[in-house]
Amino acid sequence: MNTGFLTLFKIIISAAFVDNIILARYIGLCPYIGMSSSVANSIGMGMAVTFVMVLASIVTWVLWNFIFVPLGLEYLRIMVFILVIATLVQLVEILLKKNVPNLYRAMGIYLPLITTNCAILAVTFLGVDYGYTLLQVVVYSISVALGFTVALVLLAGIRERLRLARVPQFWQGYPIVFVATCLLAIAFLGFKGLVK
């Protein structure tokens, strides 16, 4: 297919930037706000989310197309997809605890919370809803995770700067972070219309 590469490129750009999961769709804000206090940790979170997102998309896509659609069990979607995501998060947790204990401690509650990170559920849903092929789903989930990581690292960088700023007492903490997020979202609005 000669348009295959172009389609994939479109998917990458639109998933990572134009329809950025956080700044354009406003999905997955909980870990976004919670894990953006330092750039190093935000990169770790981005990697964990990428891992879970890509694997979950592949597994759910296979389950969906080969088991649930042929059997007419579409209504079980939420339950089974969450089951898959929860399993993968547990997997990441076990691996991180063993191999990267520092990151495991820094992530704290936000690691198990990837389970309920709506961004991942949204990607698994959208992947099958858009009728993508397996390759497209893989590219799509990687791009979304990339967009998530980019937004997370950007905000983490801003928050590291913010620590030096004299923020009024009542704006300290999350309020000023949400303001920074809004400004980032406005900046990402510039990507609108890039992909037709």
């Binding site: 389950l63 088991i67 059997l71 069990l73 079980l76 339950m79 089974v80 089951l83 898959v84 399993t87 547990q90 997997l91 076990i94 691996l95 605890k97 063993k98 204990p101 704290g108 007492q169 009542f170």
Partner: protein
């Protein structure tokens, strides 16, 4: 519609995932230090954050690994310290028990109130206003930020004076109120009987007299009165040396504005003359 297929399918999926996870959890198991749990049991469990670590479990890990000292928990006091020393088999060191004290007596009828405040009932908000609603720029605003932040319910606002009072029986010396007060009126002091100046205003006598009947006017009568030479006037502030003070109370009697107070050994309230 056949209910068997979805039931079996979801059940099989769950079973497969569960088996896989339990297998991996065994394979990648990380040995947990049992000492961490024991240390955590000893810690107060208030998760007040006064130690600077994320909650009691965070501190427990650090103490067990030796990265934090056994006296890192200011809230637990000597009891927790002694218990931890025993647990970790360490000897020596000493524990200085601290308590918070309010260094302002400018309550109702004592300090001048220049405006009626109807904003957010928080010292921090009131303190943002230039000069705020009290005549004294350094005095207690009495809106209770320290009371609200106390994790041990050791503080309350005295209805008569409108000033916060620390209950030394409940106070653990964690220092949260000291950090919270926007005017830096609270201080941590060793828990023992002592004499202290209950006024933080650095203003001159004229300014202080204008706004408060119980403020320090820097007359230095106490400096001259003290037979032990324990009281000095340094950088515009009265300083009472805890080492030299014999608690004779002469300065308390002589102070014209009654701003020197005796802080009790165990009692929460301050003994005030006049």
């Amino acid at each position: 519609m056949n209910i068997l297929i979805p039931t079996v399918l979801v059940g099989a999926l769950g079973l497969a995932f569960g088996l896989m996870l339990s297998f991996l959890a065994k394979k990648f198991a990380v040995p947990v230090n049992p000492l961490v749990q024991e240390v955590e049991r000893v810690l107060p469990g208030a998760n007040c954050g006064a130690c600077g670590f994320p909650g009691c479990s965070g501190l427990a890990e650090k103490i067990a690994s030796g990265e934090a000292p056994v006296n890192a928990c200011p809230a637990g006091g000597p009891k927790v310290w002694a218990e931890l020393t025993r647990l970790l088999g360490q000897e020596g060191g000493n524990w200085e028990v601290k308590r918070a004290v309010v260094l302002c007596q400018g309550g109702k009828g004592v300090a001048q109130v220049v405006a009626e405040y109807s904003g957010v009932a928080s010292c921090k908000a009131a303190n943002l206003l230039p000069g705020s609603f009290k005549g004294c720029r350094f005095g207690c605003l009495g809106l209770g930020d320290c009371v609200r932040v106390c994790p041990f319910s050791a503080m309350h606002i005295d209805p008569e004076s409108g000033l916060p009072v620390v209950d030394w029986e409940k106070c653990t010396g964690c220092g949260k109120c000291v950090a919270e007060c926007p005017r830096k009126i609270l201080a941590l002091v060793p828990r023992k009987e002592q004499v202290t100046v209950a006024c933080v205003s650095p203003d001159s006598a004229r300014e202080v007299r204008k706004v408060c009947a119980r403020g320090c006017i820097k007359c230095q009568v106490c400096v001259r009165t003290c037979p032990e030479g324990a009281i000095t006037f340094e950088n515009g502030k009265i300083v009472i040396s805890r080492e030299k003070c014999t608690l004779c109370g002469l300065c308390i009697e002589k102070c014209p504005t009654h701003c020197i107070i005796r802080v009790g050994k165990t009692a929460a309230l301050l003994e005030v003359r006049g």
